[in-house]
Amino acid sequence: MSLNVAITGLHAADNPAPGLGVIRCLHHPKKWDGKIIGLAYDVLDTGIYDEGLLDHAYLIPYPNTGSKAFLERLQYIHQQEQIDVIIPTLDSELTVFQKIAPELKSLGIATFIPPKHITDRISKSQLAEFCESENIPYPETIVIKDPGELKAAVKKIGFPLMIKGVYYEAYTCKSMEDVHQYFELLRLKWGLPMILQKKLDSEEFDVCCVSDKNGDLLGAVPIRKTRLTDKGKAWAAVTLKNEQLMELSRRILKKLKWSGPCEVEILKDKKTGEYNLIEINPRFPAWIYLSTGADQNLPKMVIELAMDKTVSPMAPAKSGICFVRHATDLVCPMDYIENLTMLGELHYKSSE
């Protein structure tokens, strides 16, 4: 069946968004049978210009513009392109998609994302509480709601520790001076609460998962990042065969009744060998194209789930498959930029 799929997260610079990886998965092993519609926040979202990936590109308003403007724009795009499924790929837009999911459904646009009450449980400030209540191992964590709590929390956790903003950014602290410096920086940027977490001497793993409406794991690709950027983003990785990672991921998603894609970040404590949950990102990771090499095309699975099809669990991911990220220059005529700037849309000729 030919389906028209719209995807967000098209900017692939030093912190690549996952949308392009998702699109490449849809085109694997052969070109997607239906339209691929890119939803971009900026004229210079790089993926728009990667010819062959998209059939159409449309600018959409930033989520903080409000759900009304967001929905109206999607309605317009739907009138033009008859969207069957939207795959959102950015943390910052998830709330608005959760909010407008019923309206999208009534328009005939399917999504497969976890509901808000579930994603709230794994927000940075709530994750420790979830782990505690469900007996999931995690590094000692204290949520700081008031600057007056900082000193006692640092004393309890000890050095080294991680200090994390409520939405983004994390820094390692080895002294009280570090704590004060990064606390102020994060407070000005993201406000409170803030998270203090024991820094483990550990190995870092990621598992990209998709589970169904009951939280049952249907597909998963565990990886080790083998090269990181200075922002801690994976620039190379290898797929694994690791039942402990799989079992922990399976248990976490079942406890949450998670539905949809996610990236589970896990640390293995070098001292104890224990696997600790540190974060769950409610979307595909930027490295998702690697899943095709591991024989687990998870974005295609999400489309089937969104279309209410019965989906069976996949065979375990193939281990020993690597990816290396590669930056390249894309060249395009000025009228591409002009169309997006003046009309907010771009239509590639091959799809006309």
Binding site: E203, A237, T239, L240, K241, N242
Partner: protein, 82 residues
Amino acid sequence: MSEIFKSEVTLSENGFLFDHGSGLTYTLNTTGQFIFRQLQSGQKSKQIMEKMLDEFEVIEETARKDLDDFFRQLNELGLIDL
């Protein structure tokens, strides 16, 4: 896979070792590859020692030391359970 290994491991013909559980890779020299392949085929320490004496021009004391050192390294790297 021999039970001594903690997870699946693959050793290529030219000595490149991949641990499927951790994602880590290692390079083994000729002696390391020889011992590792014996381990993969389920041989015990004593049998490997005998085969090393057959295969390499080495006295028993040196072979024993090399074998013990190699096992210690594999254990420290979390590849085997001693």
